[in-house]
Symmetry: C2
Subunit: 342 residues, 2 copies
Amino acid sequence: MPEKRYKVAVLGATGAVGREMLKVLDEMRFPASDVIALASPRSVGQQVDYGNRQLDVQAATIEALAGVDIVLASAGSAVSKQLLPLAAQRGSLCIDNSSAFRMHADVPLVVPEVNPLAMIGHKGIIANPNCSTIQMVVALQPLHQLAGLRRVVVATYQSVSGAGQKGIEELVTQTAALLNGKPFDVVVHNARIAFNVIPHIGDAAADGYTDEELKLVYETRKIMGLPNLAVCPTAVRVPVTAGHSESVVCEFERPITVAQARAALQQAHGITVVDDLAAKQYPMPMDCAESDSVFVGRIRKDFSVAHGLALWVVADNLRKGAATNAVQIANLAVAAGLVHGA
Amino acid sequence: MPEKRYKVAVLGATGAVGREMLKVLDEMRFPASDVIALASPRSVGQQVDYGNRQLDVQAATIEALAGVDIVLASAGSAVSKQLLPLAAQRGSLCIDNSSAFRMHADVPLVVPEVNPLAMIGHKGIIANPNCSTIQMVVALQPLHQLAGLRRVVVATYQSVSGAGQKGIEELVTQTAALLNGKPFDVVVHNARIAFNVIPHIGDAAADGYTDEELKLVYETRKIMGLPNLAVCPTAVRVPVTAGHSESVVCEFERPITVAQARAALQQAHGITVVDDLAAKQYPMPMDCAESDSVFVGRIRKDFSVAHGLALWVVADNLRKGAATNAVQIANLAVAAGLVHGA
């Protein structure tokens, strides 16, 4: 019997995450019968890479999604809200990287290493969590299983690729301008990002927090199935091109040693432990770009509470933080027979 | 009666902090009868700015310190250990920016806004705390007075000027090389710093922490007079030229509201509150360089504990984090009649 193959649409194919989705689909040899690239009308006429093929970009319309088995969407919340419910109704499995549906009660929010079973009974839309949440929960889950997670204080060091291609270009342009004493614009980020850090990603939300920060609270609770988990987030943009870093300080219900934590992290799927301070071995964004792993280092006892650990967690936000996680969800859906339309 | 004037020596005058000390002495119109610039023998022959004068750099020897009333030292621990005890014995007041004496029981470790009285009874050496500690305790002290500080989780975003002139040059050189696809060296920082972040400042110390991180624990306890204060530190180098930023998450013994905290911070000496997220107003290193203030923003309730607050604290690490604090100690010593030799 020939392997079942699926028609896949990448929605938002010209964006930083969309391009990475096409790359990951090819690298992981996703069983696609066809892959189509969809984007906003102004991108029609462009081409995007898929393996050694170039795909013509088509307009993202509901008509273009006809017959598509799996939609990988990263075109922003407005487009997702407009197209995905209809596509889902017509039988497509939509894996959505926007924040549009993440907190909907009937939409699974999935990180395959953490809550794969949440996908069962999906209603056509599965949400891909925010980049900074994905890498954190991958690191926290094995520790939670050991000792019961109670509270997390997280401070992020997020790269400009989280703001897409334009975010990267603005950092490079501003940096070159500053080095040469020339003027520059501030358009994409909330302030100048070159040789600066900005404690503001996304929009102001509630109680003095940004929406980017609140995602670390609510998405983490939903994915880990811990509705009362205490999380204090601070989200900061740093002048790094690719890769998000996080200082993650966690408290547990039960005792947990550094050795136990390290062993659990080393055994966990999707995690690479890089942890030898004396030998200058720890995860850094420059080393983690283009990888699908979540890198954990600086594992140490937090002496300031009863059962505490401090970690340093780094991942490529466009890969495991977005595209890779979405394709992993698609792979799992295929393996589990959860793709309706095929 | 004419104003009393003091002979001042800046030890380590060619370094980033030493140059800033000379600048601050001039800006604050410190009552100096004479200012001499001392550095290592290889810097002899150089000149450094003091107001509109140029000072000839002399070799840092005990002979050169004869008759000096106040030594402002920033030449590293080895030089401080060698020269300051002798100079102190001979009657100089030595204000030392190195870590050599900070934790000595008979050496006051002083931040004028926090523990000015600790200077009384000094034995000739007063230690200037580490940059990242100074700005944090300035922000914490008014909140501690309100509600009793219990625990702090701090993650730093430290600029390369913390590693001196060479640290700044390495960032600029590497950045230009990377933008132009050219090779570069890694000498000053523990890894490439351009477009990267490094979770390692200083040396590996104990229990998986760096010495830079442990300073945030032990110096904070000593300055605030809270020997049992719980502190969990993470110190990270970021590609910023000047200005350290800190995510400071604190727990208190008693209730404290955001409004109370903001009012206390606004009234506190040495603090500038910049805090309006919706209007994109928060402290950033690019705005805080060359200032003597500690800037506090992103003041918000930490919902993850009973009495919690989260803050974002930024200061110029060469100014309030080093040179300004040292000159403020000297000013206070002069005002309080604590300079022996004069």
